[in-house]
């Protein structure tokens, strides 16, 4: 991909999509598309599917990771391409959202026999596809959404259904979950437990690899932190011009300490660390949960607004998201939110995948811990937490995170012949974020 000749980020983004679309005309047997957060991955999945059916008159199947993702994709394709017929393939007794039934060009089928034999777009989750009994006419294109969350052994079970494959996903996020014993395959870089894009590339290094080089969601100020920390080998830029998205605030009548956190964002920072006095708190930290709520309430009090491009809009509950590491922390925040702000989406990071909000507040996974540990150091989780916002994000923690990281020695559970040391990468990413925020004067101490 050449950057020099193409002038704007938008143009570069579009060119990348053209390249992806082009691989299908070239008849590439497989394509791996690495996408940083907010780069329009789902839009690419939609376009690939639309092109496959609409322009190339093919049979296209899409495999998602969860039912919710399948519903969402079906909704988007049917809504965006009203002239194309899409099919949602679902389990007999699966409850589907009401609004899907209302879409004229979307048919919900419960049996494989009800799937069309000819050109179509068929959407389902990967597990459902793998349980297809008997055969269906071969699909021309199989698109896997969130491919880095599909372990290779599951990919293997649906591979026989199609002729060409497009694996689309974010390599920096949470890895596939495999709970059973996998010692015998640990050394194998193309093992059944490995995310299918990595396994495929390992077996066939010549598979076409493309990237989406532009994030529509993240602003340049955020990319500056997120890219080196979580995507060291994936170069990308922000679509938004610096300063094109901002937070507006009215001046407060009486100043409160929390205002420092808001003002620094108004001044242009998209990523801010808010530190409370150091304490070992365990999972639930009442003071921290209250701080999160205080920020939200203060935003409303100061009549915060968003300026995105030229579009102003007021900040309300729907503009804000809160992400935590644990369910108990989610409950603690929800309990404290006043009714008027119950629309704020508060969830664990697992439930935040694929979602975004203009403003995000993060309960730092390492806050208040006596010790860093592998679970909490997981880079994929912090990456998701820090890449949900399109305007600004506050990372709230007890101070001392950097010190704890420096005192921590990753246990070093190494696997022979495997270069990736997940625990170290996570540790390094966490440390990078902490040190960079400090170095850039992004730390507000309460």
């Amino acid at each position: 991909m050449t950057v020099s000749k193409i002038s704007t980020p938008e143009a570069r983004a579009q060119e990348a999509i053209r390249q992806v679309l082009g691989t299908q005309w070239d008849g590439e047997p497989a394509v791996r598309l690495d996408s940083p957060p907010g780069a329009g991955k789902t839009g690419v999945v939609e376009r690939l599917a639309a092109q496959s059916l609409g322009t190339m008159n093919e049979r296209c199947m899409i495999a998602t990771q969860t039912n919710e993702q399948a519903f969402d994709l079906a909704r988007r394709i049917a809504t965006n391409y009203p002239r194309l017929n899409a099919y949602l393939f679902a389990r007999k007794d699966l409850a589907t959202p009401q609004d899907l039934s209302a879409l004229a060009n979307l048919t919900i089928v419960r049996s494989k026999d009800d799937l069309p034999q000819g050109p179509c777009i068929a959407i389902s989750n990967a597990v459902k596809w793998s349980w297809l009994k008997g055969s269906v006419p071969s699909f021309d294109l199989q698109i896997i959404d969130e491919a880095f969350q599909l372990p290779d052994y599951r990919f293997q079970q649906i591979v026989g259904l199609a002729r060409r494959f497009a694996l689309v996903g974010d390599p920096g996020q949470i890895a596939p979950v495999v709970t059973c014993e996998i010692e015998r395959w640990k050394c194998d870089k193309a093992g059944p437990h490995v995310a299918c894009p990595f396994a495929l590339t390992e077996r066939f290094p010549q598979v076409v690899r493309l990237t989406l080089p532009v994030s529509r969601r993240l602003v340049p100020d955020t990319v500056r932190f997120v890219q080196p920390a979580f995507y060291p080998s994936l170069q990308f830029e922000a679509l938004a011009a610096p300063g094109s998205r901002s937070l507006t605030l009215t001046l407060p009548v009486a100043r409160k300490p929390i205002d420092a956190a808001l003002d620094i964002v108004r001044g242009g920072a998209s990523l801010v660390s808010v530190e409370l006095p150091p304490r070992i708190t365990g999972e639930v930290d009442e003071e921290l949960s209250q701080t999160i709520v205080s920020i939200i309430e203060r935003l409303v009090e100061r009549r915060a607004g968003l300026l995105i491009g030229d579009q102003p809009s007021p900040v309300d509950a729907n503009s804000i998201g809160v992400v935590c590491a644990h369910v108990s922390q989610v409950s603690a925040v929800r309990e404290r939110l006043p009714r008027s702000l119950s629309g704020v989406f508060v969830e664990t990071r697992d439930r935040f995948q694929g979602l975004e909000r203009p403003l995000m507040i993060v309960h730092h996974p390492l806050s208040g811990r006596a010790d860093a540990s592998e679970f909490h150091l997981d880079a994929g989780r912090l990456c998701v937490m820090m890449s949900r916002h399109c305007v600004a994000c506050w990372l709230i923690s007890r101070s001392g995170v950097e010190e704890r990281l420096l005192r921590h020695a990753p246990a070093g559970d190494r696997v022979l012949g495997i270069d990736v040391d997940g625990e170290y990468e996570g540790w390094r990413a966490h440390l990078y974020v902490a040190q960079e925020l400090k170095g850039a004067n992004r730390v507000v101490t309460l």
Partner: protein
Amino acid sequence: MAVDLETIARLVAFDKGKAVPIASDLQIVIQPDALVLCCIALAGEDTTVHVVACGSIGKPAEFLSVPDPRFRDDQYDLFAWIGQRIEQYYADCRRRGTHPQIWVSSDAAVKHLDVLSDRLRYNRERADVRRLGELLTYATERFPVGGQQALYAATSALRQHYATGQQAAEDAHLGTLLTWIDPPRKTNILAAVALAEQTPMGMKTDPEFDRTKLDPVVRAYNEARRAGASTAQLKRRAQNIHDALMTVVSPIYDATQAAVEILRTRWPRRLLTAPQLQDREAQEFDNFMQSRDNGFFLPTRDKPKAAALKLTEREIALQTVEAAVCIGDRVALAKARLAGRILEGTIENPRRVWVRPRVFESTFDLISSQRVLRIRPRDELILLTDPRQRVLVRNVERQGRRTRVQLEIIKGKNAVGLPSASSIQVFTPYVPDWNSLTQARIQLAERLAVQPWTHAENGAMPQRVPSQLPEPADLLAAVEALR
């Protein structure tokens, strides 16, 4: 992470100076004819067996050693000896339509068997040694699969039932574990444990022992052998080695037997799903032995197809077993409740709502005071006491310390009916589906029958086949035009 039951149990055990139960039912199925096998390797040489103790549970051991396992023929003879006993045991199990069960002392001992089986089953020099490798492979391949009944480490088996007041990693030593379970009177538990720790309980001898006791007698034997000593002299020196090794292997055998005895006698409540687990094991055993009869090869590395099959099997086995344990065992249930994976609470407002002619929705609310709840709208749950009833989570609302969950019955409306108001009910996300493994195997066989290039070993990528249709000038515009 929140405080879990394991931590509580360890705290209580530490306080008491004695191990405490961490299960309510026996979590395993002990075969009455199970075989206890204790092998000791020569330090550094993981594929050797210097001495072996072998016997059925509750019975005394037979012992055999070789003076120096680095002498191949002697070593092979020892393997053959073990092989005969295993062969007989397996044949006996087959005849009775059941499955074998081997008990070893610890995870280290399991690893030792794994190393041996991996190596011996490819032995080209002696068929009887190869056969031992193959038969042991049954046990070692089953070991990582959830719910397996073929191979037990006494330490892991005890740990499923007891929590000690030491670190989990320290429980890997059978001696310390037994000391916690039955602490000696009038001795400080920590001192007793420190003492117990000095006796090896795995598959290795202690380096100090090697230096002071074993090495001298092995040297003496080897010197005599090199010098062409008489049979009687060699026999005497071999006996010295045997005597030394006995001091190591005998306590390990006794400890392993003691562990089995504890589980057999102190845990009367059997696991509800014991019959299913046994049936499954017997089935696996039968399949395995049939394959051996048919001369099927045991591969070194898994091809992608075999890997996919095995991983799927393991995942399903684990899910099935975890769900199974949750149903019967009170501690497992408590753990799941604490972690918020199981929903328990009081029923409010059970109602039937008319939707349209002859169609009713059966709905009710459940008020839970669980501090942590991992339930979300559109989750599906099953009534713990009657798996015929399936419910759908319609809404979850936290009200202070409690959570109000709105549930709709989607299966078993008539078979089970609405729960009564003010009753306490428990719902779980899964129940063990004992058929799921068989069904998965059938399905996988079908889906993996044809292996396209993506997973073919040493396969080549197919050529590109460009589209025959005329390609639009601007692909993106062409797609946008489809809107």
